[in-house]
Point group: C2
Chain length 153, copies 2
DNA sequence: AGTGAAAGAATCACTTA
DNA sequence: TAAGTGATTCTTTCACT
């Protein structure tokens, strides 16, 4: 499905998608047209979901990362749909997973400070009734954060 | 520091950084040169950390997301440096935070399946002695995952 | 997979308000 | 201090080999 050249291209683009076709082509020993055709294919087939700018959260004043662990007793579909809709629409929520095991949901949230977090928390529990246990854990330090996925052999 | 036009540009680029200067310029009612100067400034000042391609994890066969919660008794600087170095170098680790509260570290990991996770887990605990409690939680469903930060007023 | 041409975009010195 | 014009250069894209 993906040969060595495709994987190399994906690796490079994950790090920097402003690289020009010529530079990419050289890196995989091709000329620009066949390289371009590969990129187009990788995009058309959905390997590349998009190209985005990553912003600096400190510069934006978003210094607080929180993880929210949620337990609920509501397990019917209507409640779930509503829960998903409400939380997806909150821009502070960067990641949100339904989990196996001890707690039902895990959410990663980014806000400016504790005051903003408190505001977010109140909006969350008000918007979604039926959350029986909401535990917040706060990050002291970001050691790693990357969008680079390991491209398998 | 950031005016309305800057914020609009950042919002747009977070969603799609392939938008051409002309399109961006039109969206903020400028011509391309002043728009370009703004983008350059936003980049030089560090608001834009980079432009990257986002890949599809399912397409790459990376279907399993795990969160690893770690407690340790080691709190000296040498041990910490080593721990950080080892884990930063593991490409399966997408995010990694030092936490306040009940557990000391939280790690987000992406792998193909349980077998790969088991391999990762063994490498982790072997590479880093002194982890006294390592709890893995697995995601059943990704409800939201975005790199888009809320750009404050 | 490569060549070469045409179209499109980014970059910058210079001008204007 | 911020925006615009226009020329130059670099990039992308595509029909054809």
């Amino acid at each position: 499905m993906l040969d060595k050249t495709d994987r190399k291209l994906l690796c490079l683009l994950q790090q920097d998608c402003t690289l020009s076709l010529q530079v990419l082509a050289e890196a995989v020993n091709l000329t620009s047209t066949p390289c371009w055709k590969r990129l187009k294919r990788l995009e058309d087939e959905g390997f590349i979901r998009g190209r985005v700018a990553l912003l600096d959260h400190e510069k934006l004043g978003l210094s607080l990362t929180a993880f929210v662990m949620i337990k609920t007793q509501q397990h019917n579909s209507d409640w779930y749909q509503r829960f998903v809709k409400q939380t997806k629409d909150m821009p502070e929520v960067l990641a949100f997973y339904r989990m196996a095991g001890e707690f039902d949901y895990l959410m990663q949230v980014r806000v400016a400070d504790m005051k903003s977090y408190d505001g977010f928390y109140k909006r969350l529990v008000n918007a979604v009734p039926g959350l029986i246990d909401v535990t917040s854990s706060f990050a002291m330090e970001e050691i790693k954060y990357t969008t680079i996925l390991p491209v398998p052999e």
